[in-house]
């Protein structure tokens, strides 16, 4: 029973991490650039939800659409300020610009809201459900449901709609996408908006149980980076699987041993994957044909 409890907690945490990693990998695929501000966008989403809660005293689930929309707007600004002016420069220019945006977000939030931890409202309620003897926090179930809905929605849009085809074509060959009539710049901006919106959702989900501080983004970007490395650089299912694996280590191993041991075991696993399967769990070595 305890194992099931831990598994559910791990899946809930992993679902939120998956949204962080998903946003990270979408930008990576669309631009070839690493968005180091992704963790700080998660933090911004959490702070935004915490700041909106007293103004709009409703459950987090009803705040979520507003957070998604505002964060999508922030993503558009990020693309305009930190990516588009530098897209023809070497990749390191975008690395630095996104790091700079992250630092600005941290300091901006500190100035506006202070450095103390804040909590976002729960998605539904703070209670628990008793499922055949298993005590399940409503928040955990709601996190899993919301994350599954958002990830499923992303998969549907990318797999079944013309917008999704255009986003994928832009990610695979921007010049050729342009030669097929795809408005590539708009697609890149849409990707940043989507990634930031998902970061915001992750921030809202995480900031209820774990609180959020202005410097929380550093830890989250590291986890997203590890999730994408474990899952396979650029693989969307891999990023989700990597995020779940990290969360299961954090919850499962740390409950049996300790958190530092869990982190150590996670990094050992990461090293083993890099040695024995450097392309990651879902990555492919090569898939081009002459």
């Amino acid at each position: 029973m305890l194992a099931l409890q831990l598994l559910l907690n791990g899946i809930a945490l992993g679902a939120a991490y998956a949204l962080v990693a998903l946003g990270f990998v979408l930008v990576l695929n669309a631009t070839g650039a690493v968005n180091f501000a992704q963790g700080d966008l998660v933090m911004a989403g959490g702070i935004l939800a915490a700041a909106l809660a007293p103004l709009l005293p409703v459950p987090g689930l009803l705040l979520l659409p507003l957070v998604l929309a505002l964060m999508a707007g922030l993503g558009l600004l990020l693309s305009l300020a930190a990516y588009l002016p530098l897209r023809h420069r070497p990749p390191v220019a975008v690395f630095i610009s996104t790091i700079a945006v992250g630092i600005m977000l941290q300091n901006g939030v500190t100035v506006l809201f202070g450095p103390e931890p804040r909590a976002a409202p729960p998605l539904l309620g703070g209670g628990t459900l008793d499922l055949a003897g298993l005590v399940v926090p409503e928040q955990s179930l709601a996190i899993v449901a919301v994350a599954a809905l958002l990830i499923g929605g992303q998969q549907w849009v990318f797999g079944r709609t013309q917008l999704g085809r255009r986003l994928r074509a832009t990610a695979q060959d921007p010049e050729m996408a342009r030669a097929c009539g795809v408005p590539v710049t708009a697609m890149v901006m849409a990707t940043f908006a989507l990634a930031a919106a998902y970061a915001g959702a992750a921030g809202l989900l995480l900031a209820n149980q774990f609180f959020v501080t202005p410097t929380a983004g550093g830890d989250l970007i590291l986890k997203a980076y590890i999730a994408v490395t474990i899952g396979g650089w650029g693989s969307v299912p891999g990023a989700v699987a990597g995020a779940l694996l990290i969360a299961l280590f954090e919850v499962g191993v740390s409950s049996v041993l300790s958190y530092p041991v869990a982190l150590g075991a996670l990094y050992v696993t990461l090293l083993a994957i890099l040695v024995f399967r450097p392309q990651g769990l879902f990555g492919e070595v090569a898939r081009r044909r002459a």
Partner: protein, 240 residues
């Protein structure tokens, strides 16, 4: 619309300090198939890419169907009716055959499906592979996909860059037969090709490029072998 479908006047383009196109001027009528021949490095690919807006023009003007293309982004040019088949096919490898075609569709969904059906009729081999990732296709099938993808933009002008490259003679013949049928259906074609014999058999007119300049422009049937040799071998003063 009056006047030619495409009017190029004094077009210059290059890469960094290197001039690849030097004051290129020509016109192309609607439904006219034109072969663009020349040695490697003559500027054929650059001309096609500059017409589409993938290489910026440093001087000159390009008008297409009465619209000035200067300053217009590639995606806007495509939507005016310019289709492009690049050298090396460049299909989207991780996308299915169907998605490769649909992504280039300019029409609303219902009409786009009709366009898709038209491409599958033209290339029956692609129909059976519709759900497969494009990287799994053979070279010939990828070339068909690249041509089909360009047709999804409903082109009035089709730019083809080395469509026979890397194909077996039999497959190349099949591809050229398809290009001829596309031209016959009323689409203007500008065909850059190394294989002069195939290109001349497909086109009604030939332009020879050498060192970024048009050195010959005339009927495909009347071009002298010596003129072709001069253009391909890079001898000074190719005859016109």
């Amino acid at each position: 619309m009056t006047g030619p479908l495409l009017a190029v006047d004094g077009l210059c383009a290059g890469y960094g300090g290197l001039t690849a196109l030097d004051r290129v001027s020509f016109t192309l009528e609607a439904a006219e198939p034109v072969a663009l021949l020349g040695a490697n490095g003559a500027g054929k690919s650059t001309l096609l890419r500059a017409l589409l807006g993938l290489v910026p023009a440093s001087a000159g003007r390009v008008r297409f169907a009465g619209t000035d293309l200067n300053g217009l982004a590639a995606e806007r040019r495509v939507r005016l009716g310019i289709g492009y088949v690049p050298e090396g096919r460049r299909v989207f490898p991780g996308m299915s055959v169907r998605d490769n075609l649909e992504v280039a569709g300019v029409a609303a969904r219902g009409d786009r499906l009709e366009d898709l059906e038209r491409v599958f009729t033209l290339f029956p081999q692609l129909r059976g592979k519709a759900g497969e990732a494009a990287w799994r296709l053979s070279g010939g099938q990828q070339q068909m996909l690249a041509i089909g993808r360009a047709l999804m933009v409903r082109p009035r002008l089709l730019l083809l860059d080395e469509p026979s490259l890397g194909l077996s003679p039999a497959l190349a013949a099949e591809v050229f037969a398809t290009i001829a049928s596309i031209a016959a259906s009323g689409t203007a074609v500008l065909l850059a090709e190394q294989s002069a014999a195939r290109a001349l058999a497909t086109a009604s007119r030939v332009m020879l490029l050498r060192l970024g300049r048009v050195v010959h422009d005339g009927p495909a049937s009347g071009v002298a072998a010596q003129t072709l040799r001069d253009a391909f071998l890079g001898r000074a003063g190719a005859r016109t």
